[in-house]
Symmetry: D2
Subunit: 346 residues, 4 copies
């Protein structure tokens, strides 16, 4: 059994981690970390776990924790994981960080976009960006995995084949993304109240959302060249789900068949990326509660652009599910273990 500790177990991503790990047959959760609820029963915070989890919430004593478990998940605010992390901890346990602290290789970019001083930049180099479908072999050997952001996961996976195969103009990419409210986390803010989110749609983080440089870095690797994008997220009145609608200009000889072949090339063998049938487009309701990313595209001959769509559960493949997929890779067990949930509808 893999012994697991979770720091930040009472956020929404932490709750999803717990839900999924409880169904993972090779895992035992040893530590439910939650600074806000220390000594409270975990199920008192999340009553869905009543009669299922009897543990109390613990703090974030990572030294103690690192001696007890094989892997730590940190589902904590930006800047927190890097403030705790050091070589010694990593010598004792593996770490999968669900925050952004180790995702961006250039620490200046991190510090500029996040407005946070990075406490331990020397660890960034060895951190592996945990987008399993793309970085699988590196993840297998990683001690420290930077679990990708929700928007980046959906965006990168839906555009990746086009850049790898050189089918689109890399200066033309625009990503218009839509997310449910769980992406904003479980903190008590007026903007996240029911009556503020319900019956409303808004854009936010326009031109400056923090996931922008993360997406750009990964797309640049795929393109072999610097990629700049426009990225505009929107808040949608629903609990879970991300839909990304991306636009790009096609390179001159790109055809439907070439694009289709590119998607098949990269995703035919992938369990969790489903390239939909022609003329069927992603909807978030079809992936809720699962680790799937549904993708598809349509070419507009009138404008010579391609519209690329991806749908994903932000808490699952966009956070906890992918973190477990990373764990499976890091521990050499079957990648899909604990992640074979059928999406729940309605």
């Amino acid at each position: 059994m893999i012994k697991v500790g979770i720091i930040g177990s009472t956020g929404y991503a932490g709750g999803e981690l717990t839900r999924l790990l409880l169904g993972h047959k090779e895992v035992e959760i040893k530590w439910y970390g939650s600074k806000s609820y220390i000594d409270k029963k975990y199920y008192e915070v999340y009553q869905n776990f009543f009669k299922i989890v009897d543990n109390k919430c613990l703090g974030d004593s990572i030294d103690e924790l690192s001696s007890m478990v094989d892997v730590i998940f940190t589902a904590t605010p930006q800047g927190f994981c890097s403030s705790l992390m050091n070589e010694e901890i990593l010598s004792r346990t593996k770490v999968i960080d669900l925050s952004a602290d180790f995702r961006i290789k250039d620490v200046d970019i991190y510090e500029k976009w996040y407005g946070i001083h990075h406490k331990i930049p020397k660890l960034i180099e060895q951190a592996v960006y945990g987008l399993c479908e793309i970085n699988r072999s590196n993840i297998k050997n990683a001690r420290l995995v930077a679990n990708p952001g929700c928007y980046p996961t959906c965006t990168i996976l839906s555009i990746y084949p086009l850049l790898k195969e050189g089918l689109i103009d890399i200066n033309s990419i625009i990503v218009d993304a839509k997310s449910g409210a769980s992406g904003a986390g479980r903190s008590a803010k007026i903007d996240n109240l029911y009556c503020e989110v319900n019956e409303n749609i808004k854009a936010y983080g326009i031109t400056n959302h923090r996931h922008t440089p993360e997406i750009e870095e990964q797309l640049s690797y795929a393109a072999g060249n610097d990629v700049r994008i426009n990225f505009t997220p929107h808040l949608v009145p629903m609990n879970r789900g991300i839909l990304t609608t991306a636009y790009a200009s096609l390179n001159s000889d790109t055809t439907y068949e070439k694009v289709k072949a590119a998607y098949d090339k990269y995703y035919d063998e992938e369990k969790f990326v489903r390239v939909l049938d022609k003329d069927v487009y992603p909807q978030t309701k079809w992936i809720k509660g699962s680790n799937y990313v549904d993708v598809n595209f349509k070419i507009d001959d009138r404008t010579n652009r391609i519209i690329i769509m991806g749908a994903m559960d932000n808490l699952n493949k966009g956070a906890a599910g992918q973190a477990i997929q990373n764990m499976n890779l890091m521990f050499g067990i079957e990648e899909t273990t604990g992640l074979i949930q059928v999406p729940m509808f309605p």
Copy 2:
């Protein structure tokens, strides 16, 4: 492996059956019946099953089906299962009917409340009412199980211990129930359109909802006496979930301790009925996607009444989950097989 056929696999309850059965390690689905979508791929109706189920939808040729499978689930409109059923089919296969056709022992009451002529009343007697926590031993030997209605399951389980132990006035029971919209099924009616259900709450079936006699029959068995109730369901703008709030006058010497002891007596050993901690009350969000029923109560000394609450997923424990629980009992396998999903929140 238990070979399974589903008639009515493309309704919401049918979809949930499929979702749950796919995770049941001793089951193989051989027949996806759906009159409306014959020859269409099942995943074309429900894209959540894309790359998971490759079967086409089939019709309702129950004779053919009964020779192929060990058990048939009928998730069909009222009157349909009874019009197909006969001794011969039951001699070849077990049947779990998710409709109301075999729930009510008195055929006159069925015909009056449902406005349907019952085609094969002689089978009603041998049908077993599939409320597992209460009828477990009979279910084990049944060929034909009448899977309980959603409101009845939640109502009966939350009130049952009080009647068994004689703690409340049996003439005083009032049930005010609230359900999400999936309970209304997947038929195209103006009343079920998004804009009609959203931002609204309404009562319906006031004094004449068809689940009333089903609840009364079962509560009467528990009380050992005829029970008449008021039952008022409401439509709530959410997908899944039922909350029942019931009211009853306490018998003269009823105390908190006696009531608590009654719940513990009947449910301490039950996996799927969770009696919540004191002062914690059921909410539908904590049971979504699972087979749990959460119950609790509060005594109002000012009025000498007890308020009893139950929360349940109408598609799961209220339909598909309970049907599988019945199947497990009928086939002598562990009752919880395939039903250990942790509720999904948010």
Copy 3:
């Protein structure tokens, strides 16, 4: 023009007051009070008022304010209005208090249920309970009006004729109420976050909700006898609207015709209470944004009980609309002025 000041103008009820008063042709708003947003433009808090209201938010200096305006609306937390109020203020201006401070005549009951020490109990006596349909003549002469609570307004108006005419057993009343989330106000609490309220229904304040004694007091006046009720409110995932479903046992000779006649007697001339046609029941979607209360009933011969339903917009007739209706009465202008909005659907 009536000069108006609002204390607590940036809560949800305050926002609704502003919206409605802006459409009231005999009113001029002179003071947008909001402790939390002093010096901020009102439209920066509520962008719906952009280019409509240019005022800045002011504090709660009620002395200054009382010299400037003809009437003050206090849409503030319990205990606040009574802590500010005194004879001098009331000698200068009228006051309509949307909080509970002056609703309950027995100060002990107020202090017990609210857990607040009442600062100026001697003013309670002269305060008039502002349920216009019932207290119209007293309101006309009032200096201080206690604007009714949302649940009480809907509950009392829907049951009132039955008690006045002695048609029901006064010891049998059970009120099961359902409200949208705006009733919880605009404070940043985890329980009110979008993901906590959405896709959920729960009961709260079971046996101890503060609106209970307010309802009981008014129903007791109507019955001419002490009335004790069970009152259970529920939180429904929608922005606005209250539905009350009440149950009572009929007195022996009560018939449909007598009940119908009672409703007609009290409400035939009332503009804002709509007794619906037979077999048509209240739904919150039909009154959204308006000052209407829709009521109807159904008799259940099987149990000899009556089910009484009422639907109302909690922010409008349940708060701001009724407050304006009170103002109209207090200033001797047409009662419906500024309140003739057609309900908005969908």
Copy 4:
């Protein structure tokens, strides 16, 4: 008083027309047309009008109607108005068509995108495109007004100043739009059921939505050159509201100041277009129930693109409100009459 007839009064846009016209002090509604509900009381279809409208629904005998009223609103499916219309009717009454039949000047484009044979193309020329802020003077003299589509209204108004002033590359425009479910109308389709729309977001009409040529035609007039765009609408789980997020590349010398000046130039005097303050972006919740369009923009220096946002109530300014604004212009009365509702929040 202006005598008004509505054909299609029981659709969502028809209901909004009724709601708004009832508050219009110079209008009298003489005809509630609704083929589906002939002889039924209008309030039986929409209970919000109970005790407000007592009329019965009538058919679509436009000849009879045209002799009775000063203006007819047709809120009917595509192809219907053009099948009824002729010179004689227009000689007797004015017509405001809320469908697409007379919006597109090139009948071939209409027939191609709509797949409908246009019955009376000769009337297209005299029809005036009723986007009031842009076509005001022509509307004043029109007999037949083509009321703009919902997406086009929001899109065109938010982009118009940029094209008029030549600030963006006309080949670079991408419009990603989001709409609430009332835009899909009140027809009973599975795709529009509550459980299908709730907790979901999807794109639809990708590359081929019918509003595309309408937007392109109007933007081309503004640019003085052919404009081709990408337009992708999305369905959002809410009742009302459209948000458009548009992207375009800036021409070389475009600055923030120039853009801001362009918006001010065209909209400073406009009552219903609100250019928001810097760094405040449109949200649908702030315009619900009103005739406002909120617009704003942000320049992304990194990509030299501008992001332009518009928010609007699809049933109000996007349909009924704008239709009334057109009527006011056509009858020479104050343009804002009956349209001064403050947006309703929450």
